[in-house]
Every structure is written in structure tokens, then in C-alpha cells.
């Protein structure tokens, strides 16, 4: 019994011995190295976490507000297109019968501050304030304006031109209760009284800083949308029967929605449908998070590999003393676990701080491109913390396992002879495997996309190709060291430190390969994103050139986002058409519609009759008929329409296909007459003649007006006339609109540039850390160099050349990888995901700039690391 007990306890005892006598003492002896390891781990975790947090914070603003109108709604009812009629409320109440349910009608309208239009747009939400005040019974006091907080001293106002704002709004626009704020709503200037400021409530989501809440009839009248609603929110009263009632109301409303052609959704559905619109942007961020993740893993592996390789000699001694490979692996895995945990904890704190900077850039992009949102605070939830801990620890364990396994399997005699030198990840020496992966990666690119049950198309082959190519680049990078070493050597025959650095690259250690691989991945993925952005920009510029042919463009103020609903009344555009010098106009009225739960834009277009100006779109499949007839000539029951490339892809449309279009008057069949390229949004657009949409939606307002002038007309004069006559409109010249479009484009990718910079910065920091580790390992060599007369600066110079060599390897490998990844992004992932045809364009200037920045930073970091480590004392001393 006793013998068995002793045997069972032995692994634990040996593990404890290894810990206390070997690992722990190592830590105590070299606290700097341990700090470096934890720092590397923390950086990897921080970047990944910060991208996730920032993305989440930026896109959650919309969802939070949707939920907060009536506390948290159970259901939302909205039209498939346009607005709901207020009569829907009665139908809804009748259908609900005696089931206790709170019904909250909501109208949303966009506006812009007349004084500060550059400050972005304002969302005006009209709600039944009396019902909302009573909402407390449905929400347990959790409604946004429940109680006295919203009404202030004035009670519930019913006035058209009064509203409430949050304290952040008041701060942003510098207004107080009782003051008037000039606004432009649908192109019309209005004076708006602020009746009350909603105070901050710690138990509720903060009121966005761009929100004005007002009484529903007031907003309906202000926006000339009498009797119209954007949506109806339903809230089940809490209580023991709440679950049952929710189910009952859900079933009833589902039937009603199906019958009336409305959409019934939960707030979660709404959120996901909103975020669906930003799929391209999210893909962009996903790629960048992936980049951060990969760079992080490389850094962690680098650190763990260094820690294990450094102690290979020690591991050999332990093995010679009878410690089994499994026990050695276990001890080092425990070390990896603890280092991973420590790194993850520091990384979480760091990531939280980094996210605060990133969130501003991300939310600005989301605001510009997709929908109004406010930057919600970066919140670190338990799930994120857990995820980061698991990520840090797992990456650390995986990173520790491979080198620990290699070290524990090496014969003791060999390890003792080699000591801390050599070793590293044997896998990274397998360049033939790299060639195989290269072929496999290219092969994956030709795999057709996968269509999910939901209808979404996933370019699985493209993603797999990208991952496999990244791995392949990591294995092939080692092939670059020899030629680079020769180049370095050739250029510095009389510089012994440069020759010494070249000799290090001639026989690269695992650490060299790993560092260069990490840098190549960061550079490769960043540069590939650069190719995507440049290709997009080139294509977009050509598209804008083709599209924008009019002399002036007019829209209601604040229509700088695709989902903005501001419009121009018929009287306004008619007056513009009458201005002397105006020879013709094109009009478009945009609606957001939903078919088979997929949102897209419907455009009712009115082209002027000039045949030279007609059909300015970039056609992929031009319509058979020329001129306005193409959109106005019906074939039987169907109405002709032009589909954008992405819409055609999403609904598998070809010329001649039909799509059922929901309208206020019921469904209308649209037959595709032509397919055009469009890069303005990825959800897709369907264009039909405005004479039809006017009929279907009973609406003569327009979203945008393109104005053509007589050849002899003075553009500036007409522009000035429009501005003076209609101060609530934004009129821009052709050139200004082009400039603005390109500016918005660059703003969209601002976050991409920021994240790319972070990835490259981290990779270069990794290079510095790797060099520090290498020099620590080579401390005996440094002592020899000093014994031979090398000065501290000379040793630093040698480290600098080594760093430059590593950076050159990373850059060369990274750029080669980027050409392939760029090709996959543009010709595989992009057309499969969004249906956009782009031309391949390499941004050479950015490439040169990135190379210059990387090389100079690497040189600087390496020099300072060399300088700091040049005074390390060799391990030999008596």
C-alpha cells in the first residue's frame, strides 16, 4: 500500500521539485527575461482584445438605443418598405385582444444642426410620451423616460417643436433646458425648443449624444409624415404569465405580420439585420483581428520558444538524471500556463486601454457608412475576460508545447553539447512542406463558395487559401536568409560587425525564422489589405467618374449616410428646376426594403430625357432598350428594374429574372432589365422608374437631385442661388462631391490603417524582443566580442545589421505573401462575399513607405537592444 502511494505521488513530487529547483529559480535569476515574456504575451492578447472590444462598442450603439425606447421591447413590428400607417396600431390592439401588452409607436427622422452641420446628424425619435411614461409598469421602472426625469417641471408636453435630449447631447451642443436649437429637417429649417434634459441614469443605457426625443404627433407634423410610423414596439407586462403571454403575442403578431406584409422581429433580430449591413466592414475588421491574432500567436511562440531553447542544456541534464520526457514537458507546460495567465491578465488591461483609442475610429466609420450610432463606452464583460484568458493561456501552451516537446525528445548528450544554441521550431525548417502548402493554398482559392442554409455565401475556399498561404510563407521564409546574408556581407567587407551579423543570418536559429515569419505575416496581411484598399479606390474612382456627370448635386442636409431618410419635397425640387440656367435634372428616391428577410435599397429614379446623359451607370449587363424606355416599358405584369451587382448576387438574379418587391400597395413583380456595378453599399440596390414608386408609396419626395446646367450657365451662380433660396439643402458641385466621396472612402479605411500600423508596430516590437532574447542567449559570444576589443557601439551596430536582415527577410516574404493574399481578397473573397468586381492594383508608394518605416524602426530598435545588451556579463566566471 505504502509502496503504491509513494509511486502515485512521485510525479507530483518530481513536478514540484522541477518547479521549485529549476523553473522558479530561473525566474528569480532572470526577472527581466520573465518580464519580457509576459510583455510579449500581453501584447498579443491586448491587440486581439482591443479590436474585438472596439468593434463591439462601435456597433452596439444602435442596438442599445433601439432597446431603450421602451425599456427593452419584446417584439418590433416594421414595414418591409417605407413607413407604417398609424392605423396599424388599431389592428394590432384588436389582434392582441385582452393579452396585456404595451404598444409603443415610434417614428424616426434625421435632422442636422443648422448652426453646426459639420457636427454630424441628429436622430429625432417621436414616441407616445404618455404611453412611455406608463411604460414603467411593463419595464419595472426601466423605461428611458419613465417617471419625472424626462418631463422635468413641465409635465408631458404635446407641442410639435419641443423635445428632450440627453445630458451628453446638451453638453455636445452646449445647450440648456428652455433654449431653442435651430435644426434642418427634410431640408427645412426649424427652431426647436429643448423642454428638458434627461439626466444620466446609472441603471439605464446612456442616452446617445445625437438623440432628440419628442412627442409622436409633433414629429409627424414636423417631418410632414402625418399618420406615419417607422415601427411599433411591443412590450409584455412582467409577471408570472409573462412567458406564456410572450409566446401568445408572438404567434398572433407573426400571423398579423404575415397577413399585412410587415416584418416582426425581436431586438436581437433587428440588431443582427442592422449589423448585416456592415458585413464588408466587419469582414475588414475580422481580417484585421485575424492579423492581430496571428501576430500575437507568433510573438507568444517566439517568447516561449526562447524560454525553452535557452534551457535545452538544463533539460538534457535533467534527462540524464532520470527525469522522463513527459515530466519535463509537464513542467514546462505549467510554466507556459502561468506565463500565459500572467500575460493575459496584463493584456486584458492593456487591450482595454488600446480599445478606447480604436473605438473612436471604428464608430466614425460605422456612422459614415451604415447607420447612426453613438460610441458606447468600451465595456469589458465577463465573457471577453474569459475569452482573453483562454486565448492567452492556450496560445502560450501551444507555443510552449512544440519547443518543449522537441527539447525533451532530443538525446541528452546532443542537447548538452549544443546547450542553449540552435534548436527552435524544427517545423520552420521544413521548406519543402512550405512549397506543398503553397500549392494547396492556391488550390483552395479555386474551391467554390459555400452557401449556408440562411442563404449567406461564405467564401470558405478563399479563407482557407489565405490561412494556408500564411503558413506556407512562415515555412518558406527561411530560404531568404542565405541570399540576404550574402547581400549583407557583400556590402560590408571591411565592417566586421556587419559580417558577424551576416554570419548569424547565414545560419539562422529557430528564433530568427520565427521572428521573420511573424513579421512576414504582419507585413503580408497589412500589405494585402493595402492592395484591397488601393484596388477598391482605383475602381471606385473610375466608377465615380462614370457616375457623376451632372453639374450640381442637391440633397437635404445630413444625407451623408446611406440609411439617412432625409428628403426634398416636390415643391423644393420643382423650384430648383425653374432656376435660370438649369437644363434638366435626375431624381432619385431611396427606400430601404426587405425581401426574404434581406434588406436592400430601392431607388425610384427619374432621368432627364437627354439621351446622352441617360444610362450613366457602369454596366455589367446593359439593358436591351435605350433611354428612359428601358425603365418605363413594362412586359406584361412585371415592372422593369435594374439590379446592382451585389443585389444580383444575393438574389441570384440575371437579366430576365423576377423579384417580388414589397410596396405600400402590396407586392409588385420586378423583372431585371440590366445589371450595373455599384460600390456605394454591399447590400444591393434595385432601380425602378420613379413614376412607379410614386404610385406604390404615394410619395413625391426625393432623396437626391442631380442638376444639369446649360453650357453657358455659371455653375457658381446657380449654386449660390440654391444655397440662398434653400438654406436647409446641401448643394455641391460635381468636383466637390467627388472630393467628398473620396474623403469618405479614406475615412472608412482610417481604422484599417490604424490597425495595420499596430500590427506592424507589434511585429517590429517582437523583432526587438527576439533580438534581446538572442543576445541574452549569446551573452558568451558578446563577452568574446568584447574580449576581442569590440566596443559597446560596435556590438549595437552588429545587432542593428542583424535586425535589418531580419526585417528585410520579413518584408520580402511579407510582400510576396501580400501579392497572393491580395489576389485572393480581390478575385476570390470579395466577389464571393459582396459581388463586387474590382481591378487589381498594388499601392507601390505605400509599399515603399512601409518598407522604409519597418526597416528604420527595426534598425533603431535592434541598435538600442544591442546597445543595452552589450554589457551583459558572460556566464563564464570563476
Amino acid at each position: 500500500m505504502e509502496g503504491n502511494a509513494t509511486l502515485n505521488e512521485r510525479p507530483v513530487a518530481i513536478g514540484r521539485l522541477l518547479w521549485s529547483r529549476i523553473i522558479w529559480r530561473h525566474w528569480r535569476r532572470e526577472p527581466r527575461l520573465i518580464l519580457v515574456l509576459v510583455g510579449i504575451l500581453a501584447l498579443g492578447v491586448a491587440v486581439f482584445l482591443s479590436v474585438r472590444l472596439a468593434n463591439k462598442a462601435a456597433v452596439s450603439g444602435f442596438g442599445m438605443f433601439t432597446e431603450s425606447i421602451a425599456g427593452e421591447s419584446d417584439f418590433i413590428l416594421r414595414p418591409t418598405a417605407g413607413t407604417l400607417d398609424v392605423s396599424a396600431l388599431r389592428q394590432l390592439r384588436e389582434r392582441a385582444g385582452s393579452t396585456p401588452v404595451g404598444i409603443f409607436p415610434v417614428l424616426e427622422v434625421s435632422a442636422v444642426s443648422a448652426d453646426r452641420p459639420e457636427d454630424g446628424w441628429v436622430k429625432m425619435v417621436g414616441a407616445d410620451l404618455v404611453a412611455l411614461q406608463n411604460a414603467a409598469i411593463y419595464t419595472g421602472g426601466g423605461a428611458l423616460v419613465a417617471g419625472d426625469s424626462a418631463a422635468g417641471d413641465d409635465g408631458i408636453p404635446g407641442l410639435a417643436d419641443r423635445g428632450f435630449v440627453g445630458s451628453s447631447f446638451a453638453r455636445r451642443f452646449g445647450i440648456v433646458k428652455g433654449e431653442a436649437m435651430p435644426l434642418i429637417v427634410n431640408g427645412v429649417p426649424v427652431e426647436f425648443d429643448i423642454s428638458g434634459v434627461i439626466p444620466e441614469n446609472p441603471n439605464l443605457p446612456s442616452v446617445p449624444d445625437n438623440l432628440i426625443l419628442m412627442d409622436l404627433p409633433g414629429l409627424q407634423s414636423l417631418a410632414e409624415l402625418e399618420g406615419k410610423l417607422s415601427r411599433i414596439e411591443l412590450r409584455i407586462a412582467p409577471g408570472i404569465e409573462a412567458g406564456e403571454n410572450r409566446q401568445k403575442i408572438g404567434a398572433l403578431m407573426w400571423d398579423l405580420a404575415a397577413e399585412k406584409g410587415w416584418i416582426l422581429e425581436t431586438p436581437e433580430d433587428r440588431k443582427s439585420s442592422v449589423t448585416q449591413m456592415s458585413a464588408a466592414f466587419r469582414l475588414n475588421l475580422t481580417i484585421l483581428s485575424g492579423l492581430a491574432l496571428l501576430v500575437g500567436i507568433y510573438l507568444i511562440m517566439q517568447a516561449m520558444e526562447a524560454a525553452v531553447v535557452k534551457r535545452r542544456g538544463e533539460i538534457a541534464v535533467l534527462r540524464s538524471l532520470g527525469v522522463t520526457p513527459a515530466q519535463i514537458r509537464a513542467a514546462w507546460l505549467w510554466e507556459g500556463f502561468i506565463l500565459g495567465l500572467a500575460g493575459a491578465i496584463v493584456g486584458i488591461i492593456l487591450g482595454r486601454l488600446m480599445a478606447m483609442g480604436l473605438v473612436v475610429a471604428i464608430s466614425r466609420t460605422v456612422n459614415t457608412l451604415y447607420y447612426e450610432t453613438t460610441t458606447s463606452a468600451v465595456t469589458l464583460e465577463r465573457g471577453e475576460i474569459l475569452f482573453s484568458l483562454v486565448f492567452g493561456v492556450t496560445a502560450s501552451l501551444v507555443a510552449a508545447l512544440i519547443p518543449a516537446r522537441e527539447a525533451s525528445m532530443t538525446l541528452p548528450a546532443q542537447s548538452m553539447r549544443e546547450g542553449g544554441q540552435g534548436g527552435g521550431l524544427a517545423l520552420l525548417r521544413q521548406w519543402p512542406l512550405g512549397l506543398i502548402l503553397l500549392a494547396v493554398g492556391i488550390g483552395f482559392a479555386f474551391v467554390p463558395p459555400r452557401v449556408l442554409a440562411s442563404g449567406s455565401i461564405v467564401p470558405l475556399g478563399g479563407y482557407l487559401a489565405a490561412v494556408v498561404l500564411v503558413l506556407s510563407a512562415s515555412l518558406l521564409i527561411g530560404l531568404l536568409f542565405k541570399p540576404l546574408s550574402m547581400i549583407l556581407k557583400r556590402g560590408g567587407k571591411d565592417d566586421p560587425m556587419r559580417l558577424y551579423a551576416a554570419s548569424q543570418l547565414r545560419r539562422p536559429e529557430g528564433r530568427h525564422r520565427l521572428t521573420a515569419a511573424g513579421l512576414a505575416v504582419a507585413i503580408g496581411m497589412s500589405a494585402a489589405m493595402g492592395i484591397l484598399v488601393a484596388s477598391f479606390e482605383t475602381t471606385l474612382t473610375g466608377w465615380i467618374q462614370q457616375l457623376l456627370k451632372a453639374d450640381l448635386y442637391v440633397a437635404a442636409a445630413g444625407t451623408n449616410s446611406v440609411t439617412n431618410g432625409n428628403t426634398l419635397s416636390a415643391s423644393t425640387w420643382e423650384m430648383i428646376e425653374d432656376i435660370p440656367g438649369v437644363s434638366g435634372t435626375d431624381k432619385i428616391r431611396r427606400y430601404e426594403v426587405s425581401v426574404q428577410e434581406n434588406n436592400f435599397f430601392l431607388g425610384g429614379v427619374d432621368y432627364n430625357d437627354d439621351p446622352d446623359r441617360f444610362l450613366q451607370l457602369m454596366w455589367l449587363e446593359p439593358p436591351a432598350l435605350k433611354g428612359p424606355a428601358s425603365l418605363e416599358t413594362r412586359s406584361g405584369e412585371a415592372f422593369p428594374g435594374w439590379a446592382s451587382e451585389s443585389l444580383a448576387r444575393r438574389f441570384s438574379l440575371e437579366v430576365g429574372s423576377r423579384i417580388p418587391l414589397p410596396t405600400a400597395e402590396g407586392e409588385r413583380p420586378i423583372e431585371v432589365a440590366g445589371i450595373f456595378a455599384e460600390y456605394g453599399n454591399e447590400t444591393g440596390t434595385l432601380l425602378v422608374a420613379r413614376k412607379f414608386t410614386r404610385e406604390w408609396f404615394g410619395d413625391d419626395r426625393i432623396s437626391n437631385l442631380a442638376v444639369y446646367l446649360d453650357p453657358e450657365a455659371d455653375v457658381e451662380l446657380v449654386l449660390e442661388t440654391i444655397r440662398k433660396t434653400f438654406p436647409g439643402l446641401v448643394a455641391r458641385t460635381n468636383r466637390k462631391l467627388r472630393t467628398d466621396s473620396i474623403r469618405i472612402f479614406h475615412q472608412t479605411f482610417a481604422v484599417t490603417y490604424a490597425l495595420e500600423a499596430i500590427a506592424v508596430f507589434i511585429a517590429v516590437a517582437g523583432l526587438g524582443l527576439a533580438l534581446a532574447g538572442l543576445l541574452l542567449e549569446r551573452r558568451d559570444e558578446l563577452a568574446t566580442l568584447k574580449a576581442l576589443g569590440a566596443t559597446r557601439r560596435e556590438i549595437a551596430r552588429s545587432a542593428m545589421w542583424e535586425g535589418i536582415g531580419l526585417a528585410l527577410a520579413g518584408l520580402t516574404g511579407g510582400y510576396l505573401l501580400s501579392f497572393l493574399l491580395g489576389w485572393i481578397l480581390i478575385f476570390v473573397i470579395n466577389p464571393q462575399s459582396f459581388g463586387w468586381t474590382l481591378s487589381y492594383h498594388v499601392p507601390w508608394f505605400s509599399y515603399i513607405a512601409l518598407a522604409a518605416i519597418t526597416l528604420s524602426t527595426a534598425a533603431g530598435v535592434a541598435w538600442s537592444v544591442g546597445y543595452r545588451n552589450a554589457n551583459l556579463r558572460g556566464e563564464r566566471k570563476e
Binding site: D494, S503, D780, E781, A783, K786, A787, L788, A790
Partner: protein, 225 residues
Amino acid sequence: MKALQVSKITKSYDKVPVLRRVSFSLEVGERAALMGPSGSGKSTLLNCIGGIDRPDEGEISLQGQSLKGMDENELCRLRRGTVSTVFQFFHLLPTLTAAENIEFPLQLSGMSESERKVMLPELIEEVGLSHRSHAMPHELSGGEMQRVAIARALAIRPKLILADEPTGNLDSATGEVILDLLEAISERHGIAMLLVTHSPGVTRICRRTLEMRDGLLVDQSEAAV
């Protein structure tokens, strides 16, 4: 002028005295063995003489030039021209070939390529390694590595070579050959040598033996050459 003058040097690590008022000197071309048990302070003394470490007290002069007050750059210059070291574990730069290792200090001292081209084969020839000059350190035997280390030390034509257990990592036959080589070089070029050793055999090429114990120089005896 003496090749080396050590006067009353003292050195401690973490308050533990390693050298205690050590004094001795070496004439030009003189070879002396420095013996003593492990921990007696031999290597520390060597490091102080080579300018890699600094004594806490006392003075060291090489060729009449005091090391006291020299800054790091001056010490570097000293190591590039006056004193060089041969180590027990050779300490060749592992990524350089044998020839490149030997050439390295010549490059450091700023010698032109044409001069190096003349001198390098002579050095390689002198240590008998012409056939192995392009080998990497890990491809060389222990004896060959030590020959490379000796040639590297010799390259700068120093006035003093410090050899730390030069035969300690070699078999006895190879050790004998290396000692012969050191003696020949010292005789040929008039280089003084201080050889740290545990092996009494090394003393055969030395005129004097210095005995250290607990940081003290306890004995200086003339060898029976």
C-alpha cells in the same frame, strides 16, 4: 619595460573577496603559469588584466601603460592591440568559419583587406590549419578549435596573451601539441603569456609558476626549465 605589472589588486563580488592584494609582474616574452584550486580567483585576475573586469583597488599596467582610469573605449583599444585571450572552451564565434574567426580581430583593428589577405594565410599556416580554414566551429575537433582561438589571439600581434585553461578541454596528446604551439609562438614573436591552469603539465613551457589560494597569491616559484 615589463610586459605586465600587477600591483596590489583587490576585487570582491557581492562583498565576497575574490582577489586580495595580488601583485606580480611578467617580463617581455616571459611565460608564467597561474595555478590554484577552483574559486581561488584565477579567472577574475585574468579578466582584470584583460580589461574585461575592473579591480576595486590596485593597479595593472601593460607595457608600462596603466589600465587605471581608462574608459571603455581605451580598454577596447587595448584588447585590439596589446592583450588577447585564449579560453578553455575556445569561444569561437559559432557562425563564422575558422578563417573568419581569425580574421575578425584584424577587421576590428581596422586593417585593410589587402593587408588581411597577406596576413591571414600566414596565421592559419602558423597554427597548422590550412586544410580546415573554411570549416565552421562545430565541424572542428577540440584541438583544431583551440588552434583557431590561438591564431585569433595571435592575429593582433599582442604583447601579452592570457590563456585560461588552454588545454583544459583537450585530451592529453592534443594538449601537448597546443602547449608546443603556444611556446613556439611566444618564442617566435616575443609574446608574454600568462597561462591559467590546473594541470602541472602546463608548467613545462613556463619559467615561473604563480600559486593562488582564496584570492591570495601564495607562492611564486621558478620552474626547473
